[in-house]
C-alpha cells in the first residue's frame, strides 16, 4: 500500500466515523426533543417506563445495595486511612462530597446499569430487528422512537438518578462508621464536616450528570440495536458496537462534567 492510498483509507475511515457520529447525535437530539415534549407521552409510555424501572432498578436493588456497601466501605475505609496518614482529617467532608457524591456514585451506578440493562436492551432491539418486529411496528404506524426508545430512556434516566443517590447515601453512611473507627470521630463532627462541604449545586450536578449517563447508556444500545442487520449473526455485532460506544460515551460525559465543574 503506497502513501496516497494509505492516506485515502485513513480519510475514508475518518469520514465514515464522522458521518456515523453525526447521524447518532442527530437522532439523539431528535429523541431528546421528544423527551421534552408532553405530546410524546401516552398512558402506554408510562406503563412501559414503569415496567422498565422495575427491570432496571428494582430487580437490581439487592445486588446494588450489596455492591454499594462492600465497594463503598472498602473504598472509603482505605481512603480515610490515607487521609489520616497524610494529616488531612479536616477535608473528609470535601472528599466525600467531591469524590463520592459527584464522581463515584454516578459512575458506579452507570457502569452497573450499562452492563446489565444496556446490554439487554441492545440485544433485545437487535433481535427485534432481525425478526422484523421493528418493521411490523412501522407497518402499523407505531413510531419506534416513541414506543420503544422514549419509555426505556426515561426509565433508565430515573433509575440512574435514584440509584446514584442511594449509592451516595450508603457510602456516606459507611464514611460515618469508618470515621468513627479510624479517627474516633463523633456523629455530630462527621455530619458537620459533610454539611459544610456539600453545596446545593453538587446535587444539581449529580442529577444532571446521572440523567445524562442514563440517557446515553440507553439511547446508544437502542440506536445500534435498531440499526442491526436482518440476520441473527448481526445481533452480537450490534451489541458489541453498542456497548463499546456506551463505554466511550461514559468517558466523554465524565470528562465534560469534570471540565464543567472546574471551569
Amino acid at each position: 500500500m503506497n502513501a496516497v492510498s494509505w492516506i485515502e483509507s485513513v480519510g475514508a475511515g475518518a469520514l465514515g466515523r464522522w458521518r456515523e457520529l453525526h447521524q447518532l447525535l442527530g437522532f439523539a437530539s431528535a429523541v431528546f426533543r421528544r423527551l421534552l415534549s408532553p405530546s410524546s407521552y401516552r398512558p402506554l409510555t408510562v406503563e412501559i417506563a414503569v415496567t422498565q424501572i422495575y427491570f432496571t432498578a428494582v430487580q437490581l436493588l439487592g445486588f446494588f445495595i450489596v455492591v454499594s456497601v462492600v465497594f463503598g466501605s472498602l473504598f472509603i475505609g482505605m481512603t480515610l486511612f490515607v487521609i489520616k496518614e497524610i494529616g488531612l482529617t479536616g477535608y473528609i467532608g470535601d472528599f466525600i462530597a467531591g469524590v463520592v457524591v459527584l464522581e463515584m456514585a454516578p459512575i458506579m451506578t452507570t457502569l452497573l446499569i450499562a452492563l446489565r440493562s444496556g446490554s439487554a436492551i441492545n440485544a433485545e432491539m437487535a433481535v427485534m430487528k432481525a425478526n422484523r418486529e421493528l418493521d411490523a411496528l412501522e407497518a402499523f404506524g407505531v413510531d419506534i422512537a416513541n414506543y420503544l426508545f422514549l419509555p426505556r430512556i426515561v426509565a433508565v434516566m430515573v433509575s440512574v438518578v435514584l440509584l446514584s443517590a442511594l449509592f451516595a447515601i450508603i457510602v456516606t453512611a459507611s464514611g460515618l462508621v469508618f470515621s468513627a473507627i479510624i479517627f474516633d470521630m463523633s456523629f455530630n463532627t462527621y455530619t458537620e464536616l459533610i454539611a459544610k462541604a456539600i453545596e446545593y449545586r453538587y446535587f444539581t450536578i449529580m442529577v444532571v450528570k446521572s440523567a445524562a449517563f442514563g440517557f446515553f447508556i440507553t439511547f446508544i444500545p437502542l440506536y445500534y440495536g435498531s440499526r442491526a442487520g436482518y440476520q441473527l449473526t448481526a445481533v452480537p455485532v450490534a451489541v458489541l458496537r453498542g456497548m463499546v460506544n456506551v463505554f466511550i460515551a461514559i468517558i466523554i460525559i465524565e470528562v465534560l462534567s469534570l471540565v464543567a465543574r472546574f471551569l
Binding site: 401516552r42 433481535v127 425478526n131 422484523r132 418486529e133 407505531v142 416513541n146
Partner: protein, 140 residues
C-alpha cells in the same frame, strides 16, 4: 403490498408471514398495543376492548401466551385481530395459504372476517392466481 402500505398509510393493517407479532409481548398485549398507541387508551379501556376482541374469536384462553407458543391458525387469528384494531382498518391478508399450511379453503378465514364487524373496516386478500379455486365460486 408496499404500494398499499404507502397509499393507505393511516389504515393499512397487514396480516402477513413477513409482519410478525412482537415475540416479547403476550397475545393480549400484541393486540392491545395498536389502540393503546394510536388512540392513547388507558389500561382499563384497552383491557376491555382487547378482551372483547379476543372473545369474538374465542381466543381468551390463549391471551397470555407468547406468539411462539401458538399454532399456525391461532397465530393467524391473533394477527387478524391485531390488524382489526386499527381505526377503519384496511386489512391486507397476504397469501393466507402460506400462513396456514394445512388450510384447504378460504371458508374458515371468511367466517372469521365476518366476525370483525367494526365500523369502516375493509379487507383485501393478496394471493397467487393459481389459488383462485380455493376461494370458492365467488373468488376473493
Amino acid at each position: 403490498m408496499m404500494e398499499l402500505a404507502t397509499a393507505e398509510k393511516g389504515r393499512y393493517a397487514p396480516v402477513s408471514a413477513d409482519i410478525p407479532l412482537l415475540s416479547n409481548l403476550s397475545v393480549f398485549r400484541n393486540i392491545a398495543l395498536i389502540r393503546q398507541y394510536h388512540e392513547r387508551l388507558g389500561r382499563e379501556e384497552s383491557h376491555r376492548l382487547t378482551t372483547e376482541a379476543l372473545e369474538r374469536f374465542g381466543l381468551c384462553g390463549i391471551a397470555e401466551k407468547r406468539p411462539y407458543d401458538l399454532s399456525e391458525r391461532d397465530l393467524f387469528l391473533v394477527k387478524l385481530l391485531r390488524a382489526a384494531q386499527r381505526k377503519e382498518a384496511l386489512i391486507v391478508i397476504d397469501r393466507p395459504f402460506v400462513q396456514i399450511a394445512g388450510l384447504r379453503s378460504f371458508e374458515w378465514i371468511r367466517k372469521h372476517l365476518e366476525l370483525l364487524d367494526f365500523p369502516g373496516i375493509d379487507a383485501i386478500i393478496l394471493d397467487y392466481e393459481w389459488n383462485g379455486e380455493r376461494y370458492g365460486s365467488d373468488g376473493a
